[in-house]
């Protein structure tokens, strides 16, 4: 049973979607930072994809050098603020903290990181310097975490950087995909604004790159191009009834949720199809939006799901019911969805579950049209752009790529790392030209 009351106002929405990792106050930061042991060769740092020097920034917070702590964080990760709250820390840094070996709660690294990054962002402290002017230009496609990280890295070196973005705001999935109880729109956008103000890269909005002409223009005007377009919209299931009303893809529905908040449409009886983290988020979000019943249907076993166990547990704690070995074979209804016919993948028996809203979280299509416009760009069998793992250069030497478009859909922290590495890769490529 779902316990959330349907939110009717912005305040009620905020209450249901209250942040999971609230900002620490100074006292809490002092107490929590005192817990860090300053380990040698720290396992937390090894577990961080961007290799933030965690014991250093925690010690800096503790000694009142919060500005220095934020510098330490951004030195490794250009999305330090977003990552602090959206990273699955339980399976990354915090999951590796030595305290867990003793069954003691780990140091709350994410929240300490947020404390430091909010300090410089909230106080708008000058933190970054543009590099010495280099008369070379780089174009970036996509203002998501990968693109932003790449832009920041290049600006600190000294390149001219223009970002082209389909949407009217930056930050990619941080503000239109990730769950609102992890990060607010304001928080997501402020960080990019903060970086942009200090590093001065350009972002051109409502500029979708999707024609050969545009690609040729970019190639003639820029010395290198970074592709950070992420992955695309929800893929079709190819079963009947997909066009009925109230059948929607998870990423599309979540994007609406991020924009429309309490005014987002949801049904009373919701089925979410899928077993990944996006499915878990969509199920949890449906519950928090006031659906009466939410069924999470997955074709394999609970253990087979790709989602992190803690995300499934969160959904269950919000009242979501898990339904396993259930393969959807038909979506039922006249105009609107009325139910789903499933097949039990163990005994092949068919059964129907009624619903008035269906969310498909069964995978996303890739930006293949765009990729096909670029000469010599190799796409692997899983439709990911092939790159050199050190330089993030694609098989077309002028192009570099990173983020979901390369890793197939991972976390913000991976996109931030790959974008930064690609920036360095571009510099090494261009400096010898």
């Amino acid at each position: 049973m779902i316990e959330y009351k349907k939110p009717n106002t912005k305040e009620e929405f905020k209450k249901n979607f209250k942040e999971k990792k609230p900002l620490m106050n100074k006292t809490e930061a002092l107490v929590e930072s005192s817990k860090c042991l300053f380990c040698y060769d720290p396992p937390c740092m090894k577990a961080c994809p961007t290799k933030i020097d965690i014991p250093l920034f925690i010690k800096q917070i503790h000694t009142g050098n919060v500005y220095g702590a934020a510098q330490t964080i951004y030195k490794s990760n250009w999305l330090g603020n977003a990552c602090a709250v959206v990273c699955p820390t339980g399976v990354l840094c915090e999951g590796s903290c030595v305290y867990t070996k003793e069954d003691i709660l780990p140091v709350q690294i994410g929240r300490l990181q947020h404390f430091a990054t909010q300090y410089i962002i909230g106080n708008r402290l000058k933190t970054f310097e543009q590099g010495f002017d280099i008369q070379k230009k780089v174009a970036i496609i996509g203002a998501g975490p990968a693109g932003i990280a790449c832009a920041c890295e290049l600006k600190t070196i000294g390149y001219k950087v223009d970002i082209f973005e389909t949407k009217s705001a930056p930050s990619g999935l941080i503000s239109h995909g990730i769950a609102p109880y992890k990060i607010s729109n304001e928080d997501a956008l402020f960080e990019v604004e903060f970086l942009k103000n200090q590093l001065n890269f350009n972002i051109f909005y409502n500029e979708k790159i999707n024609s050969k002409q545009q690609i040729m223009d970019l190639e003639s005007k820029y010395d290198a191009i970074f592709i950070g377009v992420g992955i695309g919209s929800t893929a079709n299931l190819n079963i009947s009834g997909e066009n009925l009303n109230n059948v929607i893809g998870a990423v599309e529905w979540i994007e609406k949720l991020r924009k429309q908040e309490h005014q987002t449409t949801i049904g009373e009886n919701v089925i979410v199809l899928g077993g990944g983290n996006t499915a878990m988020d969509a199920a949890t979000e449906s519950a928090k939006l006031g659906a009466k019943n939410v069924v999470l249907a997955y074709r394999g076993s609970k253990e087979d799901m790709k989602a992190y166990p803690f995300e499934y547990e969160l959904a269950v704690s919000c009242g979501v019911d898990g339904l396993f070995y259930a393969q959807p074979i038909e979506i039922l209804g006249k105009e609107k969805v009325e139910g789903v016919r499933f097949k039990n993948t163990l005994n092949q028996e068919e059964f129907i579950i009624n619903c008035d809203f269906l969310i498909k979280a069964t995978g996303q299509a890739k930006h293949l049209e765009l990729f096909s416009l670029i000469d010599n760009l190799t796409i692997d069998d899983r439709k990911k752009i092939k790159v050199n793992q050190d330089t993030f250069q694609t098989t077309n030497p002028k192009y570099f790529a990173g983020g979901d478009a390369v890793n197939g859909g991972s976390e913000v922290v991976n996109a931030a790392f790959e974008g930064k590495m690609a920036g360095i890769g571009i510099h090494n490529f261009l400096k010898n030209k």
């Binding site: 005192s34 380990c39 040698y40 396992p43 503790h62 030595v98 305290y99 003793e102």
Partner: protein
């Protein structure tokens, strides 16, 4: 039957937990509250000549998330009218006849000492404590630590007091001196009935990084303060031991003061020879209620060891505190890491490698974060076991066969003091460290 009552130089109290002369004993109101909470005695905030205090009086040292690990003050003796203090003292004694009320005094001339002694005796004080300790303010007027640092002056004043006093006299010593036995002996020679120590340590607890003024800041400047609280306990324990082992001084009872907060602290002071203790900072931090923990802990300790009174174990640590030259050079312990308990922080590794004797190594397998001890190199210094954050994870295990006992003193007497470096445990002999050249060649990416 456990009996923790004390008779300290003739001053009787239901227990050895006394409040030190300080803000917690400013008034009758506070002292009555303290007696109700369980304190056995109280040394009234020092009475003497009129003073004026400054505003902004305390500073402290915080360690990690611990507040007031060390505490500093620049307050003077009581600034309340003497007649108010004397009247309240008389009233408190009336309501609490079995608790110890001791008047702490600090004046200048012999005449002043004689007058004030008579006044507190008339008010019913059970004893007198002479404050020769304050290292700030009063010493600039020739009192407090100015006396405590001059054994001859101290002896003279103690002599004046003994001639006038009809109740027991405790002399409170300042730690701001090289040899605590000098003022200790002077006090005994002057005829004191008992000694208490330590008063506060002359100190500067910190500097404000915006104004460059020392804490506590009084309108832009500061002065040295008196340091106390948990941080000074080791200094107090050492000075207590110096007096308690001194044959002429240890004829009088000693009251231990300095950083006492828990029952363990109390037991340690008693084991080193104190037969009552005084507390200030812990009460200023947590209130009178902390005495509950002290009393329960002390009684529990006594019960476990079958001690009936504190006199059954007072001074029992003294024979174990000896000089370095009497320590057994053949005794050998080595570190042992419990692989079950280790959480892989590798603090022991880096502490030993950078700060000690290069006797801990990391596993060759980078998945295995548990370090191991290189026994040949381990000198048994304890450092790793001190830094290890896990309780009882690194233990120091005895490795010699207990058959030999050899001390520096024995070598001296046998005229066998080595004239070459021959410690098997030291670098270059049994202890293997890379040579400078090897280390230079091994440097990577620096």
């Amino acid at each position: 039957m456990i009996d923790i009552s004390v008779n300290f130089a003739g001053i009787k109290a239901p227990n050895p937990f006394w409040l030190a002369s300080a803000p917690p004993t400013n008034s009758g109101y506070q002292i009555m509250k303290a007696f109700d909470a369980g304190w056995g005695g109280a040394v009234w905030k020092t009475l003497g000549l009129p003073t004026i205090n400054v505003s902004s009086r305390y500073g402290s040292i915080n360690y990690r998330d611990t507040r007031m690990a060390g505490f500093s003050n620049i307050e003077l003796i009581s600034d309340r009218p003497l007649e108010d203090n004397l009247r309240e003292m008389q009233e408190v004694k009336k309501y609490y006849p079995n608790h110890a009320v001791i008047a702490s005094l600090m004046v200048d001339t012999r005449q002043e000492w004689e007058t004030i002694i008579k006044e507190v005796q008339d008010a019913g004080a059970d004893g007198i404590e002479l404050n020769f300790g304050c290292p700030h303010g009063m010493c600039e007027r020739g009192m407090g630590s100015a006396v405590g640092q001059e054994p001859e002056v101290l002896k003279t004043i103690v002599g004046w007091v003994m001639a006038a006093a009809k109740i027991p006299v405790i002399t409170k010593l300042s730690p701001n001196i090289s040899h605590i036995t000098d003022p200790g002996l002077a006090a005994v020679q002057g005829g004191t009935n008992a000694i208490s120590l330590i008063n506060t340590v002359k100190s500067i607890v910190g500097i404000d990084l915006d104004t460059f003024a020392p804490y506590p800041i009084v309108d832009g400047s500061g002065t040295n303060g008196g340091y106390c609280g948990p941080a000074v306990k080791p200094i107090a324990l050492h000075m207590l031991k110096e007096l308690a082992q001194h044959r002429q001084i240890n004829k009088v009872p000693i009251c231990g003061i300095g950083g006492i907060e828990t029952w363990r602290d109390v037991v340690e002071f008693i084991l080193l020879g104190a037969t009552s203790v005084q507390v200030c900072t812990a009460v200023m931090h947590y209130g009178f209620g902390i005495v509950r923990e002290m009393e329960a802990g002390l009684k529990g300790f006594m019960e476990q060891r079958s001690f009936d009174t504190i006199y059954d174990f007072a001074g029992r640590a003294l024979p174990k505190v000896t000089e370095w030259k009497n320590l057994n050079l053949k005794y050998s312990v080595k570190a042992n890491i419990d692989r079950e308990k280790c959480i892989g922080c590798q603090l022991c590794y880096i502490a030993c490698d950078d700060g000690a004797h290069q006797a801990i190594k990391l596993s060759e397998n980078s998945e295995d974060r548990i370090p191991s001890v290189i026994e040949d190199n381990c000198v048994g210094c304890n450092l790793c076991s001190l830094v290890c954050p896990v309780e009882n994870c690194i233990s120091m295990q005895r490795k010699d066969d207990k058959s030999e006992h050899l001390t520096w003193d024995m070598l001296t007497q046998k005229n066998e003091i080595p004239n070459t470096f021959n410690d098997e445990r030291a670098g270059g002999k049994g202890h293997h460290v890379p040579s400078v050249e090897e280390a230079w060649n091994k440097r990577e990416n620096i």
